[in-house]
């Protein structure tokens, strides 16, 4: 009997941790939180914009039922605003500037009129204040001991199509509230951070005779030409230590997956199929997962470095043309319809290489460019739906999707 119980318990734990199983939470069971604005130095627009950012970030944490009503108070008030008395928690913030004109936010997390967390945050320029909101949410998440959300504080890099044959590369926060155009002019696509420090990134310039892979230092603007290839050249993935790149290149007109060593500047061809092999991604077990049309349609495959054999990873869908990998999990893009003359739907799906479960992560529109966060907690992707381009965030364990629209242009690709 004890043996059976032990097995059952282990099975439950195993399934409980499987991200391919949908989790449906009871919303009412979450504690409530309200946000109070106690700023005096800034305009009403700045204060309320920051309020909306904080409310949005707290929602993304999925730890609370977040009150969306704006309320105003004095920072030093010992009691919370009257209508917030029923709340389990109140987050009060005060925006101000210091002598160097830096933007500062002081916060208090209050429970039953007691301050349980107090902190101040600073950025040099006011336009970077969305990162303060994300840092506040990150710290509150950490205070409650929830799974880390480091991805919230990270900078995104986006290629944004501004006109036919023209794009801009933009550094942004994950909600696109902050945007800094770092490269304008020409057609520059597929940006990828060069390592975890995010001090430089790779991108493909399509403005010269052949596609060129360039590395740029974001602090100095110094550009270094890495490689040139006929037809196509994309940095598909960067190893976690930044020492290896997976490239899609076509030096003889044939798109294949290559591995590039940053230190030695030497590259090696990994696939040699006569059709299309693209979108290679590092997996933790040392394999490379990639997209190939070797079965007559695009699908997801994996192979070991130096091994000739290739393993099919996905057995669902007739057109799976993009993927991202984290540990045993793969998120892939699947075309749900094949119409030359009507709207098509592309959805993201999650599979585990250890189980047969498939979880559909999106429902409408063209969903592409899935990228796992470094810790696997979230998947970020690009959604194009009804003329609107958005960044989507999927929190896998919480079974929640969030969308942050781009005001103008279309997102070509992104990395975080």
């Amino acid at each position: 009997m004890r043996l059976i119980l032990g097995w059952l318990f282990a099975a439950v734990l195993l399934y409980g941790a499987d991200a391919t199983i949908e989790v449906i939470k009871k919303v009412d069971s979450l504690p409530s939180i309200a946000v109070e604005d106690a700023s005096v130095s800034f305009t009403d627009t700045t204060n309320k914009r920051f309020f909306r950012l904080l409310v949005s970030d707290l929602n993304v944490l999925t730890l609370f039922n977040v009150e969306r009503k704006y309320s105003n108070t004095n920072y030093e008030n010992e009691k919370v605003v009257r209508e917030n008395k029923v709340m389990d928690y109140v987050l009060r913030y005060r925006l101000r500037t210091d002598d160097d004109s830096a933007f500062i936010a002081d916060i208090k997390l209050i429970r039953e009129n007691n301050v349980i967390l107090k902190k101040s945050y600073r950025v040099k320029r006011s336009k970077m204040n969305p990162f303060i909101a994300h840092s506040i949410a990150y710290d509150i998440n950490a205070y409650f001991g929830a799974a880390p959300v480091d991805w919230m504080k990270r900078k995104l890099i986006i290629s944004r199509l501004s006109a036919p044959g023209e794009s801009e590369i933009v550094i942004a926060d994950y909600t696109l509230s902050y945007q800094h155009v770092i490269i304008k002019g020409g057609l520059n696509v597929f940006p990828k951070w060069s390592d975890s420090s995010r001090k430089s990134f790779y991108y493909t310039s399509l403005s010269s005779i052949r596609p060129t892979l360039i590395k740029i230092d974001v602090r100095t603007g110094k550009r270094t030409k890495i490689l040139t290839s006929d037809g196509m050249l994309v940095c598909s993935d960067v190893s976690s230590d930044g020492k290896k790149l997976i490239l899609t290149m076509a030096p003889s007109g044939q798109p294949d997956v290559y591995i590039y060593d940053v230190a030695s500047t030497k590259y090696k061809r990994l696939t040699s199929y006569g059709g299309i092999d693209v979108n290679g991604q590092f997996m933790e077990d040392g394999r490379i997962v990639f997209v190939s049309n070797r079965l007559g349609y695009p699908n997801i495959f994996a192979k070991k470095l130096g091994d000739k054999s290739v393993e099919q990873m996905v057995y669902y869908g007739q057109s799976n043309s993009a993927c991202t990998a984290h540990k045993e999990y793969i998120v892939y893009k699947a075309r749900e319809s094949t119409h030359a003359f009507s709207k098509n739907t592309f959805n993201l799906h999650l599979i585990s290489t250890k189980t047969d479960f498939i979880r559909r992560l999106t429902a409408t529109g063209v969903n592409e460019f899935p990228r796992f966060s470094k810790d696997g907690d979230a998947v970020i992707f690009v959604k194009n739906y009804k003329q609107q381009s958005s960044i989507g965030v999927i929190r896998l364990q919480q079974n929640k999707n969030f969308l942050f629209p781009l005001k103008s242009g279309k997102i070509q690709s992104m990395d975080w």
């Binding site: 119980l5 318990f9 439950v12 734990l13 399934y15 409980g16 941790a17 989790v23 939470k25 504690p31 010992e78 389990d88 429970r111 301050v115 349980i116 107090k118 101040s120 600073r122 950025v123 040099k124 320029r125 970077m128 840092s135 409650f144 001991g145 929830a146 799974a147 199509l161 036919p164 044959g165 800094h180 770092i182 490269i183 304008k184 020409g186 696509v189 597929f190 403005s207 005779i209 100095t220 603007g221 006929d230 037809g231 196509m232 994309v234 899609t248 007109g253 044939q254 798109p255 299309i276 979108n279 997209v291 043309s321 075309r335 030359a340 003359f341 098509n344 063209v366 364990q397 070509q412």
Partner: protein, 185 residues
């Protein structure tokens, strides 16, 4: 009785086992160690994030004089169109290849030819770029078959990022599935 209790426990594990293992234990948080009325000093997080200041304009310094001189020849060359999700040059498009090859080996014989592969709007990922490249490569093979020296031909794929038509119609999507013929000095 003992068995009933055990099986109830097993059942309960199955019911709750599917729930997230990442529920925050908010109610269980011990506030006492961190609680104060207001006297606690606030820890300043200095510079949450590094400032972005650099802007690079890739158009700066580009001279397009040579492009103007080749414009007349380029306008005489026709784009080759492709079927949905296909990259082979269809029979009805082969006359365009023949005509373009005649210009390339005639009036434009001193120039390099750049074949630009393009796709419709269904996806901006690498696979779509590869599809554009395969189209350019098919056009390259067809040009070589018409007697054009392969060394004079360069290729680039723009995926869906260089449409000639932005309406949401079948005619428009068909126009965008194409290879353009450009000249370079």
């Amino acid at each position: 009785m003992k068995k009933t209790v055990l099986w109830s426990a097993v059942l309960a594990m199955f019911i709750f086992g599917g729930c997230s293992s990442k529920d925050p234990s908010i109610d269980a948080t011990d506030d006492s160690a961190k609680t104060s009325k207001s006297g606690e000093g606030a820890a300043m997080v200095t510079d949450v994030v590094e400032e972005d200041v650099i802007v690079v304009d890739e158009n700066a310094g580009i001279e397009d004089g040579s492009e103007r001189t080749m414009g007349g020849l380029e306008s005489r060359m026709q784009s080759v169109n492709f079927a949905f999700d296909k990259f082979d040059v269809a029979a009805q498009e082969s006359d365009k290849i023949t005509g373009n090859a005649a210009i390339v080996n005639g009036d434009a014989s001193e120039f390099t030819i750049k074949l630009e592969g393009n796709c419709d709007e269904w996806g901006s990922d690498e696979y779509n770029f590869a599809l554009g490249l395969k189209r350019a490569n098919s056009a390259k093979d067809a040009m070589i078959a018409e007697g054009v020296d392969s060394k004079r031909i360069a290729m680039v794929s723009y995926g869906e990022s260089n449409p000639v038509c932005i309406d949401k119609t079948r005619e428009c999507w068909a126009k965008n599935r194409r290879v353009d013929f450009k000249l370079l000095p």
